[in-house]
């Protein structure tokens, strides 16, 4: 029973690392295209783990996951790259490639997807300009500050116009001004149709996106205080 227009569907999903207790339990929810989701919860609640399931870095221990209409559990390995290219990820620890310049790090998703070199220079420069790094275009990540690295990571996540953007504490290392600016960037992408999922423990951030839906994790279990997940409201035009 595919819900109309769903982008992600979790059905009774659980995750455990090794033989430890489950860090995520009984997750059942649907994400709809074009919405802006916040994922909140205390440190250690399982936010990063849930996002890993979303960006296909981890398989669940149990349950069913459907992504973009594909059964993510049973699909062949060879389909993974295609799905991953539709998802932009801002990792909590950035995961920039240290020996590549900011430009090459940001260009990576486009190169992986086979874009021509002459087509990617413009967009990469634009996005680096947007996050305020046009003067650090040739710098390698180790020479950048934490906040600068985070902005490179965000630029890389959005450069390929993903159908879904997943960001793990994307404003953790930047000052409030930049934090607001980044959230505006996410909103802009969201208005162009990108589904956004932002994990954060910064409750101020939630108030900055009025239309956002909130999922809360509490020790591996999901609650939706706004009721938005159970009865997803239609996106207001």
């Amino acid at each position: 029973m595919t819900a109309d227009g769903e982008i992600i569907h979790f059905d009774n999903v659980g995750l455990r690392y090794g033989t430890e207790r489950e860090v995520l339990s009984d997750l059942s929810f649907t994400l709809f295209p074009g919405r802006f989701y916040f994922l909140t919860g205390a440190s250690g609640a399982g936010k990063t783990s849930l996002l890993k399931l979303l960006y296909l870095a981890q398989r669940p221990s149990r349950g069913a996951i459907r992504m973009f209409g594909t059964d993510a559990i049973t699909m062949p390995r060879s389909r993974l790259p295609q799905l991953r290219r539709r998802i932009g990820v801002v990792f909590q620890d950035f995961r920039l490639i240290p020996h590549l310049s900011a430009f090459d790090n940001v260009a990576l998703p486009l190169r992986v997807a086979g874009h021509r070199e002459e087509d990617l220079a413009g967009p990469v420069r634009d996005i680096l300009d947007w996050v305020g790094l046009s003067d650090r275009i040739g710098a390698r990540p180790p020479t950048l500050s934490g906040g600068e690295q985070q902005r490179v990571a965000i630029a890389r996540a959005v450069i390929a116009r993903p159908a879904m953007l997943v960001a793990d504490e994307p404003t953790g290392n930047v000052d409030p001004d930049m934090s607001l600016k980044l959230i505006r960037l996410f909103e802009m992408l969201n208005r162009q149709g990108t589904t956004v999922v932002v994990a954060t423990h910064d409750l101020d951030l939630l108030r900055k996106v009025p239309d956002s839906l909130i999922m809360r994790l509490d020790r591996g279990r999901l609650s939706d205080p706004t009721g938005a997940l159970r009865y997803p409201p239609r996106k207001t035009p």
Binding site: P81, R84, D104, V112
Partner: protein, 300 residues
């Protein structure tokens, strides 16, 4: 085209410096040793087969008779008899002067004058058969000679040289075994290098994977980087080996030893030697690719 996949302006997805290190040198040494062993094997093979061709049809007849006049008469009659036999390609009565020269290094000159008596050296007839010197051919000659030259002893030349041939064939087998072992060691070295590189670049690989890179995209990067290393190392190794082979070849040529002269490498041998680094590079690239693909399959 492939280079453009992940990089621009020379930036490498997997840094070259990390993949390099000892790898090209290990490959250079392996290739040098392989080429030298192979060259030795080929040269021995050439020496054996050319010497065989020369000696196979060769028959030596000695007239073992101390009295010079009888010896000379028997030798002349033997030559006349053999000339009329079928299957003879050529024959030559070795002149006395040549025989003296042959034994001179052992006995010195003027032995006859010194001792007052000539040393009875057997007369030698060199016979070349059209076919190989089979026991049947030998006994036919023996039978024909019995009435005319009773002191004749008939030997196939290959009989004398059999131990030499055997030794050369053993050496050749040894060379082949060495080449096989070196190929194995090379594969093992490449495997280890690929594993190490994979370990140090695991983060990069994971990131590329999560950004939607395919296994073969990642494998291609490793394959290419290993290929550069192997090709560079292989070229150095081949150059080293050629220097060794050419200078050794000159030494042997200086010895003037007949067998070694015939062991010179022909053009197809040189071609084979040049193929070694190419094969080593291919082997390295395939090994790297399979190692990486295997490791990637374990990642989600």
């Amino acid at each position: 085209m492939v280079r453009r996949l992940f990089t621009a302006r020379g930036a490498e997805l997997i840094p070259q410096a990390r993949m390099s290190g000892p790898m090209p040198w290990v490959i250079a040494i392996m290739v040098a040793m392989t080429v030298i062993a192979l060259a030795a094997g080929l040269a021995l093979g050439n020496a054996v087969s050319s010497a065989k061709a020369e000696i196979e049809g060769g028959v030596t007849i000695q007239i073992l008779e101390p009295r010079a006049d009888i010896r000379t008469a028997q030798a002349r009659r033997a030559v006349d008899t053999i000339k009329t036999m079928p299957g003879i390609a050529g024959l030559r009565l070795v002149p006395q002067a040549e025989l003296d020269a042959l034994i001179e290094p052992w006995l010195g000159t003027g032995i006859g004058t010194a001792t007052g008596s000539a040393i009875p050296v057997p007369a030698l007839i060199d016979v070349r058969l059209k076919g190989p010197a089979t026991p049947k051919a030998l006994s036919a000659i023996e039978k024909a000679l019995k009435p005319v030259a009773p002191s004749a002893r008939v030997d196939a030349q290959s009989n004398w040289l059999k131990p030499v041939f055997d030794a050369m064939v053993s050496l050749q087998l040894l060379a082949i075994a060495l080449v096989a072992l070196l190929a194995l060691a090379l594969t093992a070295a490449v495997l280890l290098a690929a594993r190490t590189a994979l370990g140090t670049n695991r983060d990069t690989i994971e990131i590329v994977h999560l950004l939607g890179g395919t296994d073969s995209q990642v494998a291609r990067v490793f394959q290419r980087s290993t290929g550069y290393d192997a090709a560079g190392g292989g070229a150095v190794g081949l150059a080293l080996a050629l220097v060794v082979i050419l200078s050794l070849g000159r030494r042997f040529a200086g010895l003037g030893a007949g067998l070694v002269d015939n062991g010179a490498l022909i053009w197809s041998d040189w071609l084979l030697l040049a193929v070694v680094p190419v094969l080593a590079t291919l082997l390295a690239m395939i090994t790297a690719r399979l190692t990486v693909l295997h490791a990637l399959r374990k990642m989600l």
